[in-house]
Amino acid sequence: MGGNDRILKQLQEIVGPEYATNDEALMYPYSYDLTWNDPHMPDYVVLPKTVEQIQRILRLANRERIPVVPYVTGTNIGGLCIPEEGGILMDLKRMDQILEINTETGYAVIEPGVSHAKFSAALKKHGYEFGWGVHPASASVLAMAINHGIGHLNGRFGINSQMISSMEVVLPTGEVAKIGSCAYSNSWHSLYPLPMLAGLFIGWIGTTGIVTKLGVWISKIRPYKEVLTIAAESAEDITKYMVAWRDLELCDEVTAVSWWLAQIPIPYPYKEKPADEPEWYSYTVISGWSEEEIAYKKKMWKEVVEREKAKGVKLIDYEYPPEAKRGRTELPSRIVGSTKNYSKACGGGLAWPGTFTPAKNWPIIYNKWKEIYIRHNLSPAVRFTDYRGCHYGMLRLMTPFDKRDPKAVQNAREAMKECIEVGVPLGMIPYKPPVEYWNIINKYADPGWIMLLTKIKDCLDPNHIMNPGKLGVR
């Protein structure tokens, strides 16, 4: 058995006997994820259904100084829900209601357990969508948004956390707070023009409270979509093209993938790229309200391509197969998000180094990462994606590895940590970082930043019960 029966009894009194356990057999799936992060068993797993139950659990945890780790499906690819110090694993999947879809104001309100599948199905009935990313359709929309997850509208709106319009949160000490317009009325439309207190719970990977309701902006589905594709010989060339194209802010998304990421599955171990195949492939999704709008965007895209070619950028005309294009317009896709593309026939392991990085440094970091990965006999399966026009973008290295072999796990882990060491001084900020990444990141951090981070964490969570160990500062 895990935790003691005295605490279990209290948890069962809160949520009902069938929704709290300290049985190791039943808790085992919560002890690890698909990454190389070390497994840790929780002492209890509890599945609350209401905000009031969460409040009671957190008050109990404070009284007893027991860690609390929020969880929905645990598919964050960062080990974020692995309970570093044991404690109560709070599985929120029973809170799965879509509370409001407001097409007049363009927002929806959801609970943590709402999956991308459920949300997309509900929104589509109204002709709306949210930013669907490359993830399983069962993953939590709320968890993804508050952890800076990406979506297919990145080029237009930025990452999904930028589409948050209001929230309700239970503080580590058990109080409930509403943030944004919902604090003043029953409308969940905006965080502005108020102080941005939502920032206390976004990007904190579950260390500052439990977000129990989230308002997000939703967008009308544009009826016309097209995927435009091109290839390039080098990371430098594909980056030049992407920068020139994104500056026009005409696309929903522009992404480039290295040859290794374009393979299904990613070659494992490393396989040399055939000399006659391009090293980089890019797709961009354009959408519009009419065929004329699509034609205009396509015309502008062609002009960018021709202009860059004329400047000497080595771009190669290249058409993605229809199925690959379809996968980019019919999201969230169980196939795109299934991890099949990444880890098929490999052995179940998947992790990444990355991500938010200034585009000018993409090629520099990529070339360093390529050297590191080839040395570790791993494929440099890298992705570049622009977020919201020209401001920032993703640099990410998808890494399958064989979890059956401890040496293979350690090899992948060391390679990824090397990549973080290389990337951070060049402006890369990992998102959803495992603890070991934080230890590297924080070496480079401004001391004032660390001080502020620590002060806020101490203020909100005085007994350090919320997902302890995950921030690298507490």
Partner: protein, 414 residues
């Protein structure tokens, strides 16, 4: 705990056989949501009845099964009562397998059944399953009935006129022989009306499905050997089944190798035609050989049996039969075909966990009621049984009928 450990418990022989498949599960959780995008109407629903009921990760979809298997093989878990509960409350409906996109997919069912096979070593098997298992060894059926009573449903006039040789052996199955006898009778009537060249074996044994699904592979082998010999005995070229479970056992478990079936376990050389009764009718419909003599003017909704649908991909023939019946208005539930929701009976669950089984059936019945249909139909006597119990428990106005029963109402009547 340090990094993941290699396989260390080689005494879990049956799990070890599929360890490489189990290792391909990435825990992505795709297995829990029935989902399709790109259609006119987007679709999403929970597919796993076990996860829907128990909610913990240790119960949800194929992720939970790969996790428990890994835990056992790596000696992180022992085969406790909790493991038994998580392993045996799965209805083996295959919804998780349907959704999986990793290389674990083809071995998911085999892994679930291997987890159960290992349970027998430790005695960690629900008592109800142990009881019918002891009975089936003697009386060749899991219903606690006598083997000598197996054909009691068949009128003696028909029994005495059965041919000694025929094109097909109608494999009645235990449920239709001992419980839903009206389905067996309707099937005989329909086959006669359609001129199907069939006979019924005097010494049919359970197909083995309950044994396969609960990990009793050695026992199932004995039954497979017996039943496959029936074709030679009756000079038949194939079997026709009423039951989805029998259909999968004869078609897949007897005939296909690792990882889909159990040919590797059975060691029998069996390659024969296996048809479901609705397939026989659908074939004759296509040839214009079915003369309807009445109407069945009802609104009907069809429940896809998991073992006929997802496991064997027979989705259309039962619908073709229903659509051809004069008067029938077929309406679909939200979860149909590969996205169907289990009736809750399979995998030994009805016997071992009757309340949970009925609760699952009630969810399905509620969905059926939502269509406005008067008749809930299926193509499996075992689904019939559970769904009918749920209809009665709910006091529903819907009536349960097998597809062949409906057909029997409009064939051969003036």
């Amino acid at each position: 705990m340090g990094a993941e450990h290699p396989l260390i418990r080689k005494d879990y022989e049956k799990l070890a056989e599929v360890y490489n498949y189990i290792s391909m599960c990435t825990h992505c959780t795709n297995c829990r949501t029935l989902y399709e995008y790109g259609q006119k109407e987007n679709f999403a629903a929970i597919g796993c009845p076990q996860g829907d009921k128990f909610m913990l990760e240790s119960y949800f979809g194929s992720k939970s099964k790969s996790s428990i298997a890994r835990g056992l093989l790596k000696n992180k878990l022992q085969y406790t009562d909790s493991v038994m509960h998580a392993v045996f409350t799965c209805t083996t409906c295959g919804a998780c397998q349907q959704m999986c996109e990793t290389d674990f997919k083809p071995a998911i069912m085999r892994t679930i059944e291997a987890l159960r096979a290992e349970a027998w070593r430790f005695g960690k098997v629900p008592e109800a399953i142990k009881r019918w298992s002891a009975h089936v060894k003697v009386e060749r059926n899991p219903y606690m009935e006598k083997h000598s009573d197996r054909l009691n449903w068949l009128p003696s006039s028909v029994r005495n006129s059965l041919p000694k040789k025929a094109e097909y052996v109608y494999f009645v199955g235990c449920t239709a022989s001992y419980r839903q006898k009206q389905i067996a009778l309707a099937t005989v009537n329909v086959f006669k009306a359609l001129g199907v060249d069939f006979t019924i074996a005097e010494d049919e044994w359970c197909c083995g499905s309950p044994m396969f699904r609960t990990g009793q592979w050695d026992l199932a082998k004995e039954f497979a050997e017996h039943n496959t010999a029936l074709l030679d005995k009756y000079g038949a070229e194939g079997f026709i089944t009423s039951c989805a479970g029998c259909y999968k056992a004869l078609k897949k478990d007897y005939q296909e190798g690792l990882p889909e079936g159990y040919k590797d376990k059975l060691g029998i050389d069996f390659h024969a035609k296996v048809l479901h009764s609705t397939q026989v009718v659908a074939e004759r419909l296509k040839k214009g050989e079915v003369n309807f003599t009445g109407k069945f003017e009802k609104v009907v909704t069809y429940h896809d049996p998991c073992h006929l649908g997802r496991h064997c991909e027979v989705y259309e023939e039962p619908r073709e039969v229903l659509k051809a019946i004069p008067g029938v208005k077929l309406v679909e539930m939200e979860r149909t075909r590969k996205f169907s929701f289990c009736c809750g009976a399979g995998g030994g669950v009805r016997a071992a966990f009757p309340e949970y089984s009925l609760e699952t059936a009630a969810k399905r019945v509620e969905e059926a009621e939502g269509t406005g249909a008067e008749i809930l139909t299926s193509a499996c006597p075992f689904c019939y049984r559970n769904l009918k119990d749920a209809l009665e428990a709910k006091g529903s106005n819907m009536k349960m009928m097998d597809v062949i029963e409906i057909l029997n109402e409009v064939l051969g009547k003036k």
